[in-house]
Subunit: 348 residues, 2 copies
C-alpha cells in the first residue's frame, strides 16, 4: 500500500516485442521492484535475460507461476490470457492484460491513465490495456472532449508492422530485400497470421488488420470503435474507423476527423488544449514543415499531434494527424503506466 | 474530323515518368497517329526513343515546336505549361495539360472522361488533366452521385512516391538500402522538392504532399477539394482531404467517407452502382480477403474499389477504399483518354 513498498512482478510473454519493452520500462523503476519473473512458452523457458544488470532465468508460464506475485503483466496473446489470467488473480496478483481477451468485459476496466485513470479503482483482479491504435487516439481526443465535447470521430489509420509482432517485422525486412533484388516476395504472416491469405506488405498498403467480422469491418476497426466509447465513457459517441497496415516498422499514424459539441471553437482553441494535454506533444507548424512522422515518434512515450486544421465546410469539424510508437505508448508503456496508477492509488 | 483522320501529336516531357507512359499508351493506338514528336528540355534533346518500332529523335521544346501539331500533351511541370501551352494553341494544336497550371482556370475544362466527358466541348484550346488523387476518387464517386446524390466527402490518402517523379522513386530505393545497411538515410526530394526541409520516406509516412498554403492545408489537399467540386459540377459539395505520402512506388490508395443525399441507401445499393460504374472494378469480398492494394492495381487502367461498408452510426454514411495507379489512370491514361474524347467528339 505504501509508496515505498517493493513489488514482485511477473511478465508473461517476456520474449515478445511488447514483453521486452515492458521489462525495459520496469528497469527504469516506475515504482519499486523487488523481483521480476519473466515467463514465456515452454520453447523459451530456461533461457536467461538481464534485468538491471542481473541475470534472470525465463520460466514457462503455468497456472502455478503467480504465487507471491503482486502484479502480472500479460502480453502473450489472447488465448494465453484466457487460460492463465484468472489463475494469476486467484494467486493474489493483479493482472494488467495487454491482449484483447477482456477489453470489452464490463467487469474489466479498460484504462489509458491520461484519459480514465480513476477506472483502475473498479478493478476485480484484471485491468485491460487497450488496442494500440485506440490508445494514441484517445490521448489526443481527451483534452478536446473535456473542453468542447465530442460528437463524432472518423479515423483512417496508417499502422506499423510491429503491431503484428517480431515476425511481421522480419517479414517486412525480407520482402523489402526480395523486392530490391527483383525476386518474388514471400508472404506468410500479414495481413493477419491466422487468416487464410497473405499479401506482401513491402512497398504496399493492406486495408486489413486482424480478421473480418460478419459486418464487413475488421476486428481492428471494431476495437477502435468500441474501445474508444468505453474508455471515454461515451457509449453514444459516433466513431468510424478504417485500419490500414503500412510498410513502416514502428509507430502508428492516424488521420482523425472530429466534430465538437460546441460550435464556436477555433483551430487555435483546439491547439491550446492539445498543447496542455497530458502525455501529448503538439508538433504543428506548417511554416517550418513541423509535424510528427512514424520515424520521428519512434521509441518515444508521448503521443504527437500535428496538421491541426479546421474543416473548410463544417465549423465544428477539425482534422488532426496523430502519431505514436505503438509498442511504447500503444502497448508496453501504457501497461506499465496502469501498474503505476495501481501503486499510486494504493490498490496493490 | 473523321474517325479515320490520322493525328500529329507532340509530347512535352517525353522523358519523364508520365511522358513515357503517355507514349506507351499512344503506341496502343487509342486513335490513329500519323506522327509523334517527343519534346523535352535541352538536356535530353538529341537522344532517340522508339515509337512502334521506329526510332524518333527527341527535340527541345520551344515556342516553334507545335507547327502542324494537332494534339500536344504537356507533362513537364507547371512552369513549362505556363510558358509554352498558349504557344501551342496559337500554332493550332489542342493542348491536353497534365500539370496544375490551368486546372482551376474557368476557361479550361478539367476532365475525367468517365465523369464529365461533355466538358471537352467547352475547350478554348487547353483541356486540363486533374490531379492524380482527384481522378481516381471522382471515378469512384460518379456512379454514387448519379444514383443517390452526394452531400459530403472526407478522404485520407495513401500516396505513392511516383507522383513526385522518377527521382523520388530513386530516393525511396536508395533510402531503403541505406536503412537496411544501418546507414543514415539521405533525403533531398520528398515531401516536396521545392520546399525547405526534406524527410526520409523509407519505412515512414509523410503528412505533406506539395507545399503548404496559408490556411494550413497543403496544395495537394486543396487540389483534391477544389478539383472534385469542379469536375463533379458541385461547387457546394463538402469535401475534406488529408494527403499522406507512403513508401510505395506506385498506385495511390484512398480511405473515403461519403454521405449520400438519399437516406434509404443500403451498402448493396452502393456496391451495385459501383459494379456497373465506368472504368471501375469492384473488388470487395471480406470472406476471401478481396480488396485492392497498391501492388495489385499497379499498371492497370481501372480504378479499384473495396472495403465498402455502411457507417455504423450514420445511415447515409459509407466507407470506401479506392486504389488506382497514379501514373496510369491518375495521369497518362486519363490524358490519352481526353484526347480520345476530342477525337470521338470531332473536336480535333
Amino acid at each position: 500500500m505504501s509508496q515505498n513498498k517493493q513489488y514482485k512482478v511477473a511478465v508473461v510473454g517476456a520474449t515478445g516485442a511488447v514483453g521486452q519493452k515492458i521489462i525495459q520500462y520496469l528497469e527504469e523503476e516506475p515504482f519499486q521492484i523487488e523481483t521480476i519473473k519473466p515467463l514465456s512458452s515452454k520453447r523459451s523457458a530456461g533461457k536467461t535475460m538481464k534485468f538491471k544488470g542481473e541475470e534472470v532465468t525465463i520460466e514457462e508460464a503455468t497456472p502455478d507461476s503467480f504465487n507471491d506475485i503482486d502484479i502480472a503483466f500479460f502480453s502473450a496473446g489472447g488465448s494465453i490470457s484466457e487460460r492463465l489470467a484468472q489463475e494469476a488473480v486467484k494467486s493474489g496478483a493483479i493482472v494488467v492484460d495487454n491482449t484483447s481477451a477482456f477489453r470489452m468485459d464490463e467487469n474489466v476496466p479498460l484504462v489509458v491513465p491520461e484519459v480514465n485513470e480513476a477506472d483502475v479503482k473498479k478493478h476485480q483482479g484484471i485491468i485491460a490495456n487497450p488496442n494500440c491504435s485506440t490508445i494514441q487516439m484517445v490521448v489526443a481526443l481527451k483534452p478536446i472532449q473535456e473542453a468542447f465535447g465530442l460528437k463524432r470521430v472518423i479515423v483512417s489509420t496508417y499502422q506499423a508492422v510491429s503491431g503484428a509482432g517480431l515476425s511481421a517485422q522480419d517479414e517486412l525486412t525480407e520482402q523489402t530485400k526480395q523486392y530490391l533484388n527483383g525476386e518474388e516476395m514471400v508472404a506468410n504472416i500479414l495481413p493477419a497470421g491466422s487468416d487464410k491469405k497473405h499479401y506482401p506488405i513491402a512497398f504496399n498498403a493492406l486495408p486489413q488488420i486482424d480478421v473480418f467480422d460478419d459486418n464487413g469491418y475488421t476486428k481492428e476497426e471494431l476495437k477502435m470503435i468500441n474501445e474508444t466509447k468505453k474508455i471515454m465513457h461515451e457509449p453514444d459517441l459516433h466513431v468510424a474507423a478504417t485500419c490500414v497496415r503500412l510498410p513502416v516498422f514502428t509507430s502508428h499514424s492516424e488521420s482523425v476527423y472530429i466534430e465538437t459539441d460546441k460550435t464556436d471553437v477555433t483551430v487555435n482553441d483546439i491547439k491550446e488544449v492539445l498543447k496542455s494535454g497530458e502525455g501529448l506533444i503538439l508538433e504543428d507548424d506548417p511554416s517550418t514543415q513541423s509535424y510528427p512522422t512514424p520515424l520521428s515518434a519512434a521509441d518515444k512515450k508521448e503521443v504527437f499531434v500535428g496538421r491541426v486544421r479546421q474543416d473548410l465546410d463544417t465549423t465544428n469539424g477539425f482534422h488532426l494527424w496523430v502519431v505514436s510508437d505503438n509498442l511504447v505508448k500503444g502497448a508496453a508503456w501504457n501497461t506499465v503506466q496502469i501498474a503505476q496508477s495501481l501503486v499510486k492509488n494504493g490498490l496493490v
